[in-house]
Symmetry: C2
């Protein structure tokens, strides 16, 4: 199946996971009928925006950062991230991410679920 | 866990799946100990290069195309693809991809396995 760029669905979430500002999520694929995934998307955080600190239980989320710069709280440890870096959060660990640069922070987000 | 850009491993595969030329695979994450995945990588196909036609049984592969242009054989149907398009190949379906443009064709590849 090929999903063309103009068929992708985009949503804006305000104060996602109690973060600051808004987050744009462009879904590459609607995962409703896909195996072992609940998100395959591009996420854009504009300057100053963030996704708040939250836990991933029974699933792993991967961030692949494609542009911009920010700070990740990686299960209690703050780490600077930029294009080319990856973040892995699973097995009940926690994370947050905040754009601390001047340019949009853009990443691919993949959530793999363990049970279905 | 944060994996920095310079910690990623890159491999070059020649004639991948009986395709033409070579394919560069930069692994965002080593998936050996990750749940339900066997690839999380950026794949680059230079001009004229391809990954040959092959089947995905008991797993789904997703391509998220970030730059360039090419042709996908999507389980028997040829479709032109370019940046922003996604390809979903699972449940024993087949695909190939060939760079038909002048620029490198770059995509994120995610393989989700059903059984482990």
């Amino acid at each position: 199946m090929v999903i063309k760029k103009n068929e992708r669905k985009t949503e804006i979430k305000e104060k996602m996971r109690d973060g600051e500002g808004s987050v744009r999520i462009t879904h590459f694929v609607d995962t409703e009928n896909e195996n072992h995934t609940r998100m395959l998307a591009e996420i854009t955080l504009n300057k100053g925006c963030s996704i708040g600190y939250h836990q991933h239980v029974n699933e792993t989320e991967y961030f692949f950062i494609s542009s911009g710069a920010g700070i990740v709280n990686d299960n209690g440890k703050e780490v600077e991230v930029s294009a080319g870096d990856s973040v892995v959060t699973g097995n009940a660990s926690w994370h947050s991410i905040k754009n601390t640069g001047d340019e949009p922070l853009v990443l691919t987000a993949v959530i793999i679920t363990y049970d279905e």
